[in-house]
Amino acid sequence: MKKLFYFLLVIPFLYSCSDEDPIPETGFFKVYDDVNYGVDYHAIDVVKSSTGFIILTATEIDRTDFSGIQLIKVDEEGEFEAELTFDPAPVLPTGELMEVNGRYYFFGMDPQTIQVQLISVNDSLSDEQIVNVPLTYPLAAAASSTSNQFLILSYDPFNAESVISYIGTDGSIINTAAYSIGAGEDVEATILDHYLNPGEQPLPFFVGETPGGSVFFNGFYNYSMSMVFSDFGGTPTGVLQGQTTDGGIRKAMPISGNIFAVGGFQFNDNFIAVDASISSTAIASSVDLYTLYGNVTEYRSYTPMDIASYDIGTTTYTIIAAETENRQIGLYIFDQTTGELVGKHNIGYLNPYTLASLRPETDEENHLLLTGTTYIANRFQRIYLNRIPEEEVSSWISQ
């Protein structure tokens, strides 16, 4: 009899020992719904603010074919707090959404003058400021490693040029360079179509800085969607040529020297690499990377991609995100030092999911932020925001 009781006594403790490391309650997954039947939301980027998160979205507004701008503020638990819609202007919300001195910046455009505008808001969205920038048609932007500066790619329709510029917080141009997209009207028509009807094949414009101090942009150069390196001289220092809009790079993140983590496309195929060697001083072709790294069959054709560098403890990981064929978000996690694939995780189920942005929070809690859109009931396009604790990301990595 006593043995039976001792046995009963031991069982619970065996159970207790099987508990895994708990995941903190600071994470959340939220879909921001609207009862309006006919409204759609398109997420562009998200940034951690001082009291929550600000999401930059594109929305439909009357009297213009360009995308309208809407900002959504949510609290630290992800609950909706406030929204700010710019109607009728500016239009064309252009990320990244960038924080400088407690204000949150992004670019837009005056639909009447097609002039670029630098827009900033405070944490509660109660105050907005708009300054004109002497550029036209914003395409992509990123924060600069130099304080109080932004890097922007824009399009100049008067000279048919892709323009890369450093902009101050007052909208002034600090440095700029322009490169021809190629003669004729075909490329310009493609750019305008990107603004008016991005559909399922959005063009992957982006900008960034290399560890060596030069800049790069992914945009049109010499008729093709190419990754162009520049030191703001008259000609690019190097070009990774795409293949019109049928092949090229979708996202690139510098690792060190000439090494980049990249995601690219070649017609309907996609490739990813975390240790691609791309010279900023040579001419090369993206199809060579495709040949080297091969097709990622899980990703859908012409998917958006994003890449983030994420630290857990002393290990740095490269995380590549894109949309899968069944419209989930497929996350591939690599050890940045060894280049080894160490984890794979998919987000999404039942309803389709699209990707807008993947970025780590730059605070001590070290969450990962993922945003995009989903279709509730398979029809209502709504924004989602997934704040993922470090412990949850760790659970995706094979030990």
Binding site: L8, S16, Y37, G78, N351, T374, N378, R379
Partner: protein, 290 residues
Amino acid sequence: MKPGNLLFNRSILFVLLAFSAITLVGQARRAPGIGGYTEEFLKTQWWLGVKVGINYTDPNPITSYSSISTIGLPEQDLDKGYEVFSLPGAQAGMDLTFYHRGFSIGIQPTYKRIRYKYFNYRTWGFVAPNLFDMEYSIEQRIDAVDVPLSLKYEIIQSGKTRPFIMAGGYYSFITHAEKKVDITYTDHATGSPIPTSGGTQILGVTQQFQNYAGVLGGVGVSLDYLNIRTVFEAVYLRGLTDITNSGNRFTQTELTSIGDVNDELKMDNINVSLSFVFPLRYIDKQFQAY
């Protein structure tokens, strides 16, 4: 699971089981009292047997959660609607009881299937034809091993029919959980509502739950017929701790995708059981129990 909850749960577990072991082992060593053989048999006895029954559940949400946040709508519109004591579950286990002079202390490790039902409801638009409804009907199934420790007192301590009252505590180990999700869309695009099925999903959600504990109280009757003791009892189990894993609340993409995440929840049960128990002490060729 919050570390605090884990510690609390483990503490309850330890107290319950330590009390069980000390009491029962101590009682087992007690020397037989003075009196006749039959009287002694009735006054102090171990009973062992099997127990089966059904249960009904009352889910009590403490804090409501959703993976939906509404732009411009109050949050209460997202609250789930729970059905109370609506779906039967079942349980089967062991009944081990020590009886002494009207009082019994028993432990009944029981494997239990718990079921309850709730609804999520969303609507878009205001007037047909621009009106669309969606309903998720969710049956929650939880498998758990209950370890209750209860003290019984026989109100009538003689005869073959002995009613009793009981009280105690329990700790439950959740071994498996799943949700059966039925989706129904109702489209008013034609002016009249057209319901269509959005399919049925069965999702494993064990990681969304955690072990829990509570107190219990009940009534019953022991029937000593056919050389076996049959115990019929009805017990109300009051959950005292959250059964859901708060850390994992938003981690399961299958749930967050459909807007369903667990509320912080305590759970009350009504268990109706039938036990068939046998005496363990002094059974030999010289003694016939009845």
